[in-house]
Symmetry: C2
């Protein structure tokens, strides 16, 4: 099947269309003005964390690399741009040849970040860098928002596994990216088959209330499920009366019953009752999974309850109150001419009324205290102080247009655990607060010509 | 280019993977139990509107129809399910032949809805209907959330056009659906090229701060833009000093300057100052576009300001505080046997602790008062009262597996304006409140065998 037949926006033939029109009109104007080839440095950063959050989580980097690699304007796209008269023929010719040939550095995926952290830096000609703004921000803003929520939930859950089950609460393809972000933020599995297919994330699932309602008696449904999936399955026990369902479940599956799932009611109370009942019935190994409108606070409040796993939907895929980050992609330095050797000049918006930036190509390092715990995010221009040289955060991701830093999702997941574990303990407190470490700016002598 | 090379989740070969695993395991268990062929009725509804909202907006219906039509399990997908051992061979064989052959009725896209409105009804065998749950909910929950925010913003904006520019704040493909939902909710255009490509939505865009910063002087940037795009373009005037930028803009473009854009600061104050300055400079026809972190409240607060158009990003694509709806897909009736002629039995979850539903296949009608204004959403089972017969809301969307109700997006957009206009005036008040009309339930005699 041709994906163009899907009737979904998946027939977009290239990531190049995930772009705001003004990126193209800026290119056209710069080409005409002779400024399009000026060497330019764009940085992705955020001026603040979502209110009350202690740290951010970098997520989506791997998807950004894929998007850059596939950012091409094919005949269909060029035909669309021509037909709509969006840019002129000179610009179309330039787009037809587009291939990013610059460099990208960034925080490795899974790292934590803070206000002002230069999360990603894109360097090349203005022409090639400006076009990437929209797709880079779409991916990082979405995925990082989900990963931040996932990270808080996984802190709250401790050793108990978290199941991502929010596909039905968000756009069908955002759901796939959300599963990926949840996994890197500490979730164990997903209900979303597309996420399993695309990213190899473990998938889980057994049955819904509809399955119980389909059958004439709850007992028939349980019997059918155990016959089909074995005694190790998870039976959903809150369609009618929970106590009766638990009794029936153990009667049918025996004490080898894998788990019961509770999807409504006062979970703390019900979990305790169900645990006691299971134990009395001899099903001491049967687990309890809860899945009703959980967020990190609800998960934390169940820490003392006899719960073995959590399923999280809505609050995960909507970033638990913060469905996007406020990452921006800003020109921070550019050459004064199109000469490839021209010096870079730091630039920044300066208007009053907020949205100011700090110009210049930046480095970042995380300073540790004597116990090896992070104590500051240090961001600077110019030379990196010697004592921070081995604590630098940016790594090379794309070199001369070639992706050089692909990595498996499990490595990203491990990195996040390590990065979070290196923060002060209060990072994982759920209560609202300031970023757990401050961001310090160091304005060194101009090092804008130097590599990172 | 093969979209499988995109490295994005667009290489999902079918909408059938946008599915929670339990839909498939339920199918397997039902096949084994002999209950998979029981005729079943599933309904999509929501138990409540997002807090404070007066009405909901049905959006995504057209995308759902596409998703159903393309819901197929091809060799790649079946291979994945087999390799992961998700379902058995009997179930795989069934999936290989899957094609929805049932009926779908629903509120036409663009209609308003209320708690309990049967927004969509899917009828067929349990086997064919249960699998569609996840993708239907993903689409409707996402698109309706965006459309509801768009509708409130367009009420607040009155006759002033709204530009959707939130692509960078959400998943790159969710952004395309968000543009579509925004357009049907009353927006005039989008910055997102993919939305223009896929749905024919008008696209707009001129330049960002980066373009001004690229040039040695703001004047050079303005000159370059006017040279490239003509005097009718929109110049961004808040990179440095707004008053100076406006002076320079009119100096370069003359009074024919199309518009200036303000993206930071106190918009009410700045808009007044800029309007006065433009008028003094003779640029009385030059428009003012504002674009800084707007939501429906900010738009309303600018009603008396000399603003000609609004650009909205973050708050649109995140549903202005409500990024998802709480629509569910519930089995409300099913046959007592696999006999195609067997009577339908209403079913509903009955456990205490919330999440209860009303069983039975439902009709819905909007009752009008003597002035033709909506006064109640009437939802019932059984026969439709004669006085409501011509006010019924559900229309046939899929008949025997064939989509029968495709329509252009502009028709959907017009329908929304009409539907909203038929509500009591308080519907468009932005302040928090109850649903603007109540939902009344009518339990008629059993009509579960009858057509809609």
């Amino acid at each position: 099947m041709n994906t163009a037949d899907l009737g979904l926006p998946v027939d977009v033939p290239s990531t190049a269309l995930f772009t705001d029109q003004y990126e193209l009109t800026m290119l056209q104007a710069a080409l005409k003005a002779g400024t399009a080839e000026r060497r330019s440095v764009f940085e992705v950063f955020t001026r603040r964390l979502p209110e009350g959050r202690r740290y951010g989580v970098v997520a989506g980097t791997g998807r950004v690399l894929d998007a850059i690699e596939n950012f091409r304007f094919d005949a269909d796209v060029l035909g669309f741009l021509r037909e709509r008269n969006i840019v002129d023929e000179q610009t179309l010719a330039r787009l037809a040849d587009y291939r990013f040939s610059g460099d990208v550095w960034g925080y490795p995926e899974g790292e934590v970040y803070f206000p002002g952290s230069p999360i990603m830096r894109v360097e090349g000609t203005f022409a090639e860098c400006v076009l990437l703004e929209t797709v880079i921000l779409s991916i990082l803003n979405h995925d990082s928002a989900i990963a931040a929520a996932a990270s808080r939930m996984s802190s709250a859950a401790g050793d108990r596994p978290l199941i991502e089950m929010g596909a039905r609460r968000t756009h069908e393809l955002a759901a796939v990216a959300a599963s990926r972000a949840a996994y890197l933020g500490g979730f164990a599995s997903t209900s979303d088959l597309a996420a399993g297919f695309r990213y190899g994330i473990p998938t889980v699932g057994t049955s819904a209330h509809a399955f119980t309602l389909l059958h004439d008696r709850e007992r028939d449904a349980f019997r059918a499920q155990v016959d089909s999936m074995g005694r190790g399955t998870t039976l959903l026990v809150d369609t009618y009366d929970v106590a009766e369902a638990v009794r029936t479940a153990v009667e049918i599956a025996g004490p080898e019953l894998g788990a019961v799932r509770i999807d409504s009611g006062d979970l703390l109370l019900v979990a305790h009752r169900v645990r006691q009942q299971l134990d009395e019935l001899g099903a001491t190994g049967t687990k309890i999974i809860v899945t009703s409108d959980l967020d990190e606070y609800a998960i934390a409040s169940l820490a003392a309850a006899p719960v073995d796993a959590y399923g999280v939907g809505t609050q995960l895929v909507t970033g638990s109150g913060h469905p996007t980050c406020s990452m921006v992609y800003k020109l921070v330095a550019r050459a004064g001419s199109a000469d490839p050797g021209a010096a870079l000049v730091p630039v920044a918006k300066k208007s009053t009324g907020g949205k100011t930036s700090i110009g210049g190509r930046k480095w970042a390092a995380r300073r540790l205290d004597e116990y090896g715990v992070a104590e500051a995010e240090v961001v600077g221009t110019g030379a990196v102080p010697a004592e921070l040289a081995d604590r630098q955060l940016l790594v090379e991701l794309v070199k001369g247009g070639d992706v050089v830093a692909r990595e498996p999702l499990d490595a990203v997941r491990d990195r996040h655990v390590a990065a979070r574990g290196n923060l002060p303990l209060s990072a994982t407190q759920l209560s609202r607060g300031e970023p757990v470490i401050p961001t310090e700016y160091v304005n060194g002598r101009s090092g804008n010509r130097a590599g990172a």
